[in-house]
Amino acid sequence: MFRRMFNLERAQSRLATPGGGLRMALIILAVAACLSAVTPSAWAASRTTVTFWMAGNDQKFMDTVNTQLLPAFEKKYPKIDLQITFVPWETLSVKLATAFAGGMAPDVFMHGAAATAGFAATGRVEPLDSLIAKMPDARDFGSTLEQGNYYGKHYMIPVFGAGRLLMYRADEFKEAGLNPDEPPATWEEFRNAAIKLAIRRGNQIVREGIDLPTSGIDAQQIFACFLWQAGGSFFNRDYTRVTFNDAHGVEALQFLANLIQKDKVADTSINLGQGNVPPIATNQVAMLFAVPGDVAQVKTYAPGIYKEIRVAPPLKNKEQWTFYSFSGMFMSKTSKHKEDAWKVMEFFSSPEALEKINASMGTLPPRRSLAKAPAFASDPNIRAFVESMQYARGNPNIAQWVQIRDILSRYLEQALYGRMTPKAALDQAAKEADALLSNR
């Protein structure tokens, strides 16, 4: 019967004739096309699909979203088919740019606050002010909402944050004759501690007093902390020219370069630690300007060392600041389901969701009400990051920031390697950055 139904014999004999293969291939293609055209539309009628690209592929983060938050969302909004994709940070910008260029941007996506200006200036993202105004508890976000502010409009709902604080080991402080309960508070105290903590053999540094990144985004973020602490800033008030090469900037960079070139308490090599165990736990570095993720890494991969780990409040020179940055959710201007997209954003920025997300990664919750939640208050190191948010400053929100940051990083590296004086390096970076600003 099966044979008769599909007329298999005739089909076989047709295949054997010249041109039969061609006809058969065309028939198969046509049937496949019909099938694929029919199936999704039947589904689409009942539910709207919202696509959401989440930033990062930390296993605990993905597990929390997949096993707890997504099921809860589907239960609350059965009419929304939420499609979540986890995009690794390294490829996030590239994939988003390609998706926007190809007209395939997700309805909601996550990115760092530094990306706000670029997306907002080119009209890629939706201003959220009218929606934020309707949120009953928007004030709970405090100043973190301002990280997504571009020319007075807000484009980002913050999800998680990170800051830079000095991380050190209490046991090594004691060995070096330092008091672990009184960490360095000024530049000079910090420098003296680094000198005492560094261990050298001949010309080689066996243990760095301080781990200083010399290139890329890390170097720029450390420089930012010292620039602000020296009383400087990246731009003038109306963002028409850079100011990081003034006396404050030179003082900051000179201080950092001296740690490598003169005091020799840090070197230019990259410390990898061993496997997943970070270098502070393998006695390769005594102090570093850590983000909460570094703390979490020691806790997970070197639990025996963790009891010795301490985190200090930001250093103070003329002023007391440190670098904090939040990542959050943006809504694409091209989204066809903005109402449902906002439901997604509201759900994932609720106190319950933010507590789960941030606890999973050891990151900082943007809501003030969560500072006292057990996940953050019970660990003194994470608590230190939450408490130091009062000294937080972020990178400037202007469209050319990423390019200016790359120019600056390149010249910071020249100065830290001792190839250029700090003044010459910053002046040259300023020259290139100002040229970029005047072209806008």
Binding site: R124, T268, L272, Q403, D406, Y417
Partner: protein, 298 residues
């Protein structure tokens, strides 16, 4: 032409022809979509200021003028690439030929050695890079551990501006010799035995046989290895991306890595496309020089 139309009028032949086209269509389509169209569109983009955010605007030769006459980073990357290529190629030829001569012996279990030497070739560049990143590690790397036994080092292989590129060369040579060894091996086995017999009758020494018979007979193989090596070393990207990010101080930024930085770091697609086409012209030019001056005449 008339024979083609006669061919077309015959129903069976027409169907045969169409079937043939239907079978080659997927690969032709694939080549057009993933090869030809992107190349042509990036040639177009190289004359625009496309940044993936706003529509492309035609700016003529501006990108090329900028890159060739006002871009010190490009020239630095070009020099790095040339240096890398000039270091990798001779070492690669030398070591792969030596290995091929060694594994050309008729010994028991020689295929095991051939397989072992070939292993790095079939390992992905990123995996190899991660292993070498650890080997080169200043504090806990095997190489420094070994040097330490003799009271030397530790050396910061990838963190020292004058050394990082050479370290990458060493890794590339190790990864590449297996492939070239196989090609040399095929070449060696293709040399007629009577040439060696004639040399024996003339009383030639081992070195004479190598320099007068083996090396000249391998010339077409060497030519092939050099041309292909030149093309691939000029496009080196993966190990730079995985191991040094072009640093320290830009000392390992190759042209291919610069293209990536400009395209997907700064999203300056116009500039990146222009650099790509300049790189294409350079590789094409070098290959032409090779063909003209070094191609074996027979």
């Amino acid at each position: 032409m008339s024979s083609l139309s006669a061919y077309w009028r015959n129903r069976t032949r027409r169907e045969q022809m169409l079937t043939g086209y239907a079978f080659v269509a997927p690969i032709v389509l694939y080549t057009l979509v993933t090869g030809f169209i992107p190349v042509v569109s990036s040639l177009y983009l190289s004359f625009t200021n496309y940044n993936m955010m706003t529509p492309a605007r035609w700016i003529g030769l501006q990108n090329y003028v900028q890159v060739l006459f006002h871009d010190s980073l490009f020239w630095r990357a070009m020099l790095n690439t040339a240096q890398y290529s000039l270091e990798v190629l001779p070492l690669n030829v030398l070591f792969s030929l030596c290995l091929a001569l060694l594994v050309n012996q008729k010994l028991r279990g020689i295929t095991i050695f051939r397989t072992l030497y070939y292993l790095p070739v079939v390992t992905s560049s990123i995996a190899v890079s991660m292993i070498w990143l650890w080997l080169y590690n200043k504090n806990s790397g095997l190489i420094n551990l070994f040097l330490g036994l003799f009271g030397l080092g530790p050396v910061d292989w990838l963190g020292t501006p004058g050394l990082a590129l050479h370290s990458l060369v060493l890794m590339r040579v190790w990864k590449g010799i297996g492939w070239n060894m196989v090609i040399y091996l095929a070449g060696l086995q293709g040399i007629p035995k009577y040439l060696y017999e004639a040399a024996d009758i003339d009383g030639a020494s081992g070195w004479k046989k190598f320099s007068q018979v083996t090396w000249p007979s391998l010339r077409p193989v060497t030519y092939y290895i050099v041309v292909m090596g030149l093309i691939s070393t000029f496009q080196t990207f993966a190990e730079i991306y995985a191991m040094t990010n072009g640093g320290p101080l830009g000392s390992t930024t190759t042209v291919a890595y610069l293209i990536y930085q400009r395209a997907f770091g700064a999203f300056d697609m116009g500039n990146a496309s222009a650099v790509s086409f300049i790189l294409f012209v350079v590789i094409f030019g070098l290959s032409l020089v090779n063909v003209k001056y070094f191609q074996p005449q027979d």
